[in-house]
């Protein structure tokens, strides 16, 4: 009874199984992302009250904070699956690590852009060399380095392994980003939302933020599924299961 879960996980590692699984998951994840995104944005931009100090400008956090969390979360996923790719040489782990990188880079970029849009009216500057801003920028460069290294190789699997190694070296930056507001006295504010305790944020501002977090997570899953499916088809081009899919797609 209890052995079917590990068996199923084991099977999921094989490209054809994952291809089918990702195809089934993707529409649901995308639907959840769109629904949660719509609810979260409506709650955040319309329903939530204006801040007594910042007015309406604070509303950018409903985009900024979920993307910032995702920029670190995706890097952690990339690091873990990169580790799996190097240790167990799993093709699927390589695909997940490499296809996570552009999504994570996009989230990091959104974080930096929304942060600087918010910083101009609040701090009076687009950019400051503060520990958290700088470490987030370094995170973006790490993502770009991983993507660049992956594409520099002719052999894609070799490129994926080399880039996974670089991603693992870079994992050291993730705790630095997270704790930078604790370790250094910075301009960027400390964390307001606390998973294991009392959040320093009003409830009607908090729930849209959490819904937006769910939306970004679901979007990541949907996007990853789609990218991984495409990548698997390209990697396994000569295999039987791909040929069968291709033959089914041919217009008659």
């Amino acid at each position: 009874m209890s052995s079917w879960i590990p068996l199923w996980l084991h099977k999921l590692g094989s490209p054809p199984t994952f291809y089918r699984f990702a195809g089934a998951v993707r529409p649901w994840a995308m639907g959840l992302a769109l629904l949660a995104g719509a609810i979260g944005l409506y709650g955040g931009l319309v329903l939530a009250p204006a801040d007594y100090q910042q007015g309406d400008a604070y509303r950018i956090i409903f985009i900024h904070v979920p993307s910032a969390w995702m920029s670190m979360f995706v890097y952690a996923v990339m690091g873990v699956s990169g580790f799996m790719a190097l240790v167990w040489r799993m093709k699927l782990a390589e695909v997940v690590a490499m296809e996570s990188a552009p999504i994570g880079a996009a989230f990091t970029f959104i974080t930096l852009v929304t942060g600087s849009l918010w910083g101009k009216p609040m701090w009076g500057t687009w950019w400051t060399w503060d520990a958290r801003l700088t470490s987030e920028l370094v995170l973006l460069f790490l993502y770009l380095g991983v993507i660049g290294l992956y594409h520099a190789f002719e052999d894609r699997r070799q490129g994926a392994r080399a880039a996974s190694f670089l991603a693992i070296i870079g994992v050291i930056n993730v705790p630095i980003v997270h704790y930078s507001v604790v370790w250094w006295n910075t301009l960027h504010q400390g964390s307001t939302v606390n998973v294991f305790g009392h959040s320093k944020m009003a409830g009607d501002m908090l729930w849209p933020l959490l819904v937006m977090t769910l939306a970004t997570k679901a979007y990541y899953v949907a996007s990853l599924c789609r990218r991984a499916r495409t990548d698997l088809l390209a990697l396994e081009g000569g295999k039987d299961w791909v040929r069968r899919i291709a033959e089914a797609e041919v217009p008659r």
Binding site: F141, L144, G145, L149, A152, A162, F165, L166, G170
Partner: protein
Amino acid sequence: MSGAPLPRACAAMLRRDLLLAWRRRGDLAMPVLYAVIVVVLFPFALGPDLALLQRIAGGVVLVTVLLAMLLALDAMFASDIEDGSLEQLVLAPQPLALMLGMKILAHWLATALPLIVIAPLLAGMLHLPAAAMPALLLALLLATPLLSLLGAVLVALTAGTRRSGMLLALMLLPLCVPVVIFAAGAVAAAQEGLPWFAPVAWLGAALILCVVLAPLACAAALRIALDS
């Protein structure tokens, strides 16, 4: 299969790489010339204002040395990959990490040491106060091997690719940020007459960590990059 004893193998590796570097002395002068040119350009661009130049001197010299090292980094394994001797090294009975450590040491001696020797001249051109000179030299002595070690891991990762120059800079930037921060912090503190031992101690700690881990990581990276 046992091969030569380790100390002799290490000495042979070091001697070979230094000899190769010495035979191509022209290449050795390139990073030094590059550093001189970059530093000379600064007073032209910013004007010969003494106070301004003094303030930026430490940072400019550090960044210039870093860029000059980056310029030479690309060539660390290039000729050995071309003639196949790096593959022989991977197959050799001696531990690869130790042999690569010797190669990194030789590379540091050939490229970073001339830069450190010229650094007081560069700093003098920008009017760095003499009181800050020991801090600058000590920071460079600890920071340049760190950059060589970190850079070697990345060069090994790009060993299987053809175009790697710009990519190397992109990959090295995130890793060298802390090094630059601590080294520049030491020089800035010394310039203001503050105690500057703490950042230098951080650099030393990072260097000890890297001396142990970087050759191992470099060996692992090289095996990934050459494995096909």
